[in-house]
């Protein structure tokens, strides 16, 4: 049986937001538009004919870019806003984790806020009393529960909000990105709880940008693009298609940004230093076929090429390179001195290329340091974090580097490799 039925749902927003700031009774009366202003003007089409069912007990993932209509859809499912056209039928009690702790009052204690928030979410005081201990225990707030909520950290606030919402004991749970703000130790606990819900046969609709989690917990995924369902199916298949689409799009954007960065002198200043007796310019990245590229697969070949110009002849120079991940961790660094190249001479214009046969990095954004300096470290030209590239792949392994590896099992252990799960 379907727990959720969505049929041809459209949602249009009136686009009078900019005009609205100036909308006053006077202007409305002067222009005789008192009611006209409340009519449909230009409209933004947030959802354009969305239909799907969710079987009771299934977990549906919803992915898509920002502004694609995911959150609008969830708000309609939650009954917060109404569809402009189409129907939504839901069976059972719904709890929506859209904003945790909405209705918390900062001046009063966690204990009292549990009751207030619980009643707001549709429980009776008696029901809350029964679940009170469980709520506090799950939120790990036993010691702080009588302190006013304003003294809570954002993590504590979020934990309490999650704990109340999850204890509403819904038949249908709607989750919108709320776990993105949680502290590292609490998020797995939330996911455990969500998994427990799945085991108990509850229906879950999970909106997130965290594709790995989506793949792990969902039975099915829909990808929403510009208000329409672009694709629906097995999580792995939809997530891969989505990643590919995002990758292609980012590549275009990155190419454009790359051009901008080189002309922006202001940014160059703080990210670049050195005496400039030797100068580095025109840093570019290429794939194995010599095609300029800034989005790579995990094990793709990568070449970094840059022009150098020595304004006078130099005999003491070292070329260096550093690769950093999004957290600023140095994944790899090396220079010509460390690799035993003895500098002899540089003069005039030249070109340097570093080729990596297989990148061996996990998904993420990476930044480059590129420098030319003397053996003692005296910088000629140091470019810090000026260049970036992205690794987007369907591999889900984690860490800093993708160490080459293979699995082996003795005969009595049987595993089957899913080539295309």
């Amino acid at each position: 049986m379907e727990a959720v039925q969505v049929r041809d749902v459209f949602k249009f927003y009136k686009k009078y937001a900019d005009r609205h700031k100036f909308l006053t009774i006077k202007s409305a009366m002067v222009n005789k538009t008192l009611f006209g202003d409340l009519q449909v003007g230009e409209r933004f089409e947030a959802l354009r004919g969305v239909s799907f069912d969710v079987e009771a007990g299934h977990t549906l993932g919803v992915i898509g870019e920002n502004g694609s209509g995911k959150s609008t859809l969830l708000k309609i499912l939650a009954g917060i806003s109404k569809p402009t056209a189409g129907t939504v039928v839901t069976r059972g009690r719904i709890s929506a984790l859209i904003e945790l702790g909405a209705g918390f009052h900062p001046e009063i204690s966690g204990r009292e806020n549990i009751f207030i928030n619980g009643v707001i979410l549709g429980l009776t005081r008696k029901q809350i009393q029964e679940k009170y201990d469980e709520i506090v225990r799950f939120a790990e707030l036993e010691e702080f529960i009588d302190n006013p909520v304003k003294s809570y950290s954002s993590g504590m606030f979020m934990r309490l909000g999650f704990s109340i919402a999850i204890n509403v004991n819904p038949d249908i749970l709607l989750v919108d990105e709320v776990l993105a703000v949680g502290d590292a130790s609490f998020v797995p606990k939330c996911l455990d709880k969500i998994n427990e819900f799945r085991r108990h046969g509850k229906t879950i609709i999970y909106v997130s940008h965290d594709l790995a989690t989506i793949e792990r917990i969902c039975d099915e995924v829909i990808w929403i693009k510009k208000g329409k369902i672009e694709m629906r199916g097995y999580p792995k298949r939809v997530v891969d298609a989505y990643l590919e689409y995002i990758g292609k799009k980012d590549e275009k954007k990155s190419l454009l940004q790359h051009g901008e960065e080189e002309t922006s002198a202001g940014r160059e200043k703080e990210k670049r230093w050195g005496s400039r007796e030797i100068e580095i310019s025109d840093v570019r990245m290429f794939d194995g076929r010599g095609q300029e590229k800034y989005i790579f697969e995990a094990d793709e070949p990568l070449a970094i090429r840059f022009d150098v110009e020595a304004h006078a002849a130099e005999t003491d120079f070292v070329f260096g390179i550093g690769v950093f991940n999004g957290e600023g961790i140095n994944c790899y660094g090396s220079n010509t001195l460390l690799e035993n190249y003895a500098a002899r001479k540089i003069q005039g214009k030249g070109r340097v290329q570093l080729t990596v046969p297989a990148l061996g990095l996990v998904n993420g954004t990476y930044f480059l340091d590129i420098a030319v300096h003397k053996r003692d470290g005296y910088p000629f030209d140091y470019h810090h974090f000026q260049y970036s590239f992205k690794v987007v792949s369907s591999h889900r392994d984690v860490g800093i580097a993708r160490i080459p590896h293979r699995w082996e099992f003795s005969d009595n252990i049987v595993l089957k490799k899913n080539e295309n799960p």
Binding site: L38, I98, E107, V119, I120
Partner: protein, 265 residues
């Protein structure tokens, strides 16, 4: 409409919880707590007593036995007026202040203006013992007509509620209602017999005052406390009918605009 009223009654636990949240939050943040909600009416009473009793009147207010009694009369009217005007001003903000509830949770929005009017009613009720205290202090006797209070209370609640539905709903679309409202309330205050008696107004002007529902509501408090007699029941009955009409219209418009709140708040 009956269905809608039942719906509101079904939310009584939520209303109760939200009102107690408001009260707790207001009284917890400050040391003097509940005294602060009395501060404003007391100040008004003091100012008008000084101005009309001592500066203009030179120790006597015409129509009153003593300045003390004038102060009593003032406080008698200012207390319910404060309930009315605070409710109006707060309901102009309540939907945007509580925006998170509207936008992020499936929430019966009509509960918010109800919360405002009810919270302010509780402040008013907490002020009543102070009023009684002043009656005893100044040596003016109270009569059994004080028992008329619940009827006045109900009439004021219904009328205020209707206006607050209207104000809270319209402010979402017309932000300048807030500015108009505070000026309007100042005018309205003087157009209601609070700092003067209804009887002291010339006949012609009394007709104008009669058009103001707050006149009869405040008068009913004056009668049951200060004058110690039955209010003018015909006018009061009409006021109740008018109040119900306002309640109905206010709720109707609120309900009509309800779906726009999520997007406009």
């Amino acid at each position: 409409m009956i269905e809608k009223l039942k719906e509101i009654v079904r939310h009584r636990e939520l209303i109760f919880t939200l009102v107690s949240r408001e009260l707790k939050a207001r009284y917890r943040g400050t040391v003097l707590g509940f005294l602060w909600s009395l501060f404003n009416p007391l100040l008004l009473m003091l100012v008008y007593t000084v101005v009309f009793g001592f500066i203009v009147g030179g120790g006597r207010v015409s129509g009153f036995e003593s300045t003390k009694f004038y102060a009593l009369f003032l406080f008698n009217g200012i207390l319910p007026w404060t309930w009315f005007s605070s409710s109006m001003l707060e309901s102009a903000n309540v939907l945007s202040v509580q925006g998170a509830l509207i936008k992020k949770i499936k929430f019966p929005i009509e509960v918010l203006p109800i919360m405002v009017v009810t919270t302010n009613m509780v402040h008013f009720l907490l002020g009543l013992p102070v009023l009684v205290f002043f009656f005893i202090l100044f040596g003016k006797a109270l009569t059994p007509w004080v028992l008329f209070l619940p009827v006045s209370l109900l009439a004021q609640y219904i009328f205020t509620m209707g206006l607050c539905f209207l104000v809270s709903a319209l402010t979402v679309h017309f932000k300048d209602i807030k500015d108009i409202l505070s000026n309007l309330l100042t005018l309205w205050f003087f157009a209601t017999p609070i700092i003067y008696t209804y009887q002291s107004v010339p006949k012609a002007l009394q007709y104008v005052l009669n058009l103001n529902p707050m006149t009869h509501i405040i008068e009913s408090y004056h009668y049951s406390f200060y004058f110690g007699s039955l209010p003018h029941y015909k006018r009061f009955a009409i006021t109740i009918v008018v109040g119900l009409l306002f309640f109905y219209l206010g709720y109707l418009i609120f309900d009509k605009l309800r779906d726009t709140f999520v997007e406009e708040v």
